[in-house]
């Protein structure tokens, strides 16, 4: 957690709304997200399945397909420029060169018909007018950089000849081929086994430092958050419910949802007799989000005030969208971070 932290803002989302206008109604998958990423920083976006994390990431890439749509009042600034006012073709030049993305599923994210080296070279030539041989040399350097042994011969192999971990390394090499300022990683280790997960996370952290890029890491794994994040955004039902520096969030979570998430994590040394705490219920159906706090139906602390929609309120170094924090930070039980 020693990112070269500067205060220069790289990405800022203001009131991002991505709605899906389906036949059965409007699905407000992302419903008013504010988020900011500073240069060189790792920001985590955490939450349960279906809370809108991936759609937020795809919205930043402007890759949401119809019937999904980024609503007109949303704003997204990248290095000061409003990305949502760029034409599709202009934004294409940002995509992959300034903002890159890696996906959850390395098994299916590579084109099965070309050798991996050629695919990386292709990613380079999408943004630079370089000769084939030169792009290939660069591709081999990149494979070496992401820790693939004997990159020269590996570059000639097809995706099906590689393991999941190696494919994810190739994906990372591709994403970094144009030295982006921001890397969005959508659950990059979920599909990998635990030992490989740790390697990939280490690699990402090391590359973030050496290339001085910022990273928006999307995950539902709080262990990953503790290890990687500078800043954490907790997302629930299409909104950010809590935001703050990672140590504060883990030590004294302000939003009851964050608190419940932390306590649902198994702790080393737990015995099988101790029940794991769970959050009762499910993420509500995005077609029918209740008025007021969307977490209230599952919350142990719910009271009358929760029928009103809580805004993000400052609570110490954090911000929390909970009425309990209206008069400053509340006391809560955190967990110890051993990162």
């Amino acid at each position: 957690m020693t990112g070269t932290q500067t205060d220069t803002e790289l990405l800022r989302l203001e009131n991002l709304r991505t709605w899906f206008h389906t036949r059965s109604g409007v699905v407000r998958a992302v419903d008013g997200v504010d988020l900011s990423v500073a240069e060189g920083q790792t920001v985590c976006l955490v939450g349960e399945s279906g809370c809108g994390k991936s759609i937020t990431a795809l919205s930043i890439m402007r890759l949401v397909d119809p019937p999904g749509r980024i609503e007109p009042d949303s704003r997204m600034f990248f290095r000061g420029r409003n990305m949502l006012s760029l034409s599709g073709d202009d934004f294409r030049h940002v995509r992959g060169s300034e903002i890159a993305m890696i996906f959850q599923e390395p098994m299916s994210s590579l084109n099965p018909l070309y050798p991996v080296g050629a695919q990386i070279a292709e990613a380079i030539s999408a943004h630079h007018d370089v000769r084939r041989g030169k792009a290939m040399t660069r591709a081999i350097e990149l494979l070496d950089m992401v820790g693939i042994p004997s990159p020269r011969s590996r570059a000639r192999e097809y995706p099906h000849q590689m393991s999941g971990g190696m494919r994810q390394r190739v994906m990372i090499a591709m994403a970094l081929s144009n030295e982006p300022k921001l890397l969005i990683a959508d659950e990059p280790t979920t599909a990998l086994d635990v030992t490989i997960q740790a390697q990939i996370l280490d690699l990402l952290e090391q590359l973030r430092d050496s290339l001085q890029m910022a990273m928006l890491l999307i995950t539902h794994d709080l262990g990953v958050v503790a290890e990687m994040a500078d800043d954490v955004n907790v997302m629930y039902a299409g909104r950010i419910v809590e935001h703050g520096p990672v140590t504060d969030i883990f030590a004294h979570p302000q939003h009851p949802y964050t608190e419940a998430l932390l306590h649902s994590m198994p702790v080393l040394g737990m015995t099988q007799d101790e029940p794991l705490e769970v959050i009762r219920g499910m993420v509500p159906n995005p077609l029918a989000w209740s008025e007021g706090c969307r977490f209230a139906p599952r919350c142990d602390h719910a009271f009358e005030r929760c029928s009103e929609d809580p805004p993000l309120m400052p609570a110490g170094r954090q911000q929390s969208a909970c009425w309990l924090c209206e008069s400053g930070p509340r006391s809560s039980s955190g967990v110890e971070v051993t990162a």
Partner: protein, 303 residues
């Protein structure tokens, strides 16, 4: 650093085959060629016919339209392997040269229908929505005309001629290819590598040509082979009606129709072109069917 061994995942191949050098599609075709009997037989017939057409001048010492009135209607003999026709032309020679006509018309028509099919199917499937609807409704319109009818229409307006026929067949068979490719494109487009390519900033053209088309095109290999069979039958049918290749060009259908009156006096003049049509069509259909059987499990898997 520990890196897992290459783990092959399901693409429907035996492990040893999969690990060979060469792209997955090449490997697949190699595997099919080795294991499918009908592909082997079909390919053998097709290759023999292609060679017969190409090497015709080397295989015979006669010219295809050399008339020899002193040698008409001779039965097969040592000097005329398949006998001679009513103008004394060597039947064997004419059969060989007619193979050229069938192959050229067949390949050209299949090429036209595939190019049109690929362009329209790819764009329609990738773009979706309005563009898709406009293109596919136009294709449905063409599909309303059977190939032979469309060819007859063209001939009745523009007069007979091989070039017109091959263009007519090419257009008539295009919608089937466009539909086939479109359905593949729609499913291939859902793959995560297409999203990944978009995320890298690849242009639509690049994504279509480098990512979608190569992963969607394999069923067209099958349809191209079957298409050759249909075009050869269609061409022979038009020739039989006197609307195809015009004399003195040697063409199987025309040869067949010219000799039908001599069924009892010179049966070799019917048997040889008829046999060639049958062999050629069976060859292409066997090849196409075998390829389809072999490639289908993979298509099912990739969905």
């Amino acid at each position: 650093m520990s890196v897992g061994e290459p783990v092959p995942v399901g693409d429907g191949l035996a492990p040893t085959e999969r690990l060979r050098r060469g792209g997955p599609l090449v490997t697949e075709l190699r595997y099919v060629l080795r294991h499918s009997r009908s592909v082997q037989i079909g390919l053998a017939i097709v290759v023999l016919l292609l060679l017969a057409g190409l090497l015709a001048p080397l295989l015979t010492s006669y010219a295809p339209d050399k008339i020899d009135l002193s040698n008409t209607l001779k039965p097969p003999s040592h000097s005329h392997l398949l006998g001679t026709d009513e103008l004394g032309r060597d039947e064997f020679t004419r059969i060989l040269y007619a193979a050229r006509v069938s192959m050229v018309v067949g390949l050209a028509a299949v090429a036209i229908s595939n190019i049109l099919g690929v362009v329209f199917g790819l764009v329609a499937g990738y773009a979706g929505g309005f563009v898709d609807n406009v293109i596919m409704r136009a294709m449905d319109g063409i599909l309303a005309f059977p190939a032979l009818l469309l060819a007859l229409l063209v001939i009745s307006v523009l007069g007979p001629g091989l070039f017109k026929i091959l263009v007519a067949f090419g257009i008539a068979f295009a919608p089937a290819n466009a539909r086939l490719l479109r359905s593949m494109v729609v499913s291939v487009r859902q793959n995560e590598y297409v999203l990944a390519a978009q995320a890298l900033g690849a242009s639509h053209t690049r994504i279509m040509v480098r990512y979608v088309l190569p992963n969607a095109v394999s069923p067209l290999i099958v349809s191209a082979s079957l298409g050759m069979g249909f075009v050869i039958i269609g061409l022979a049918g038009l020739g039989f009606l006197g609307l195809g290749a015009q004399p003195p060009t040697a063409e199987w259908g025309a040869m067949l129709s010219g000799s039908q009156a001599r069924f009892f006096t010179a049966p070799w003049l019917l048997i040889s072109p008829g046999g060639m049509i049958l062999t050629a069509v069976v060859g292409y259909l066997l090849l196409g069917d075998g390829l389809r059987d072999a490639l289908d499990p993979r298509l099912r898997q990739s969905k």
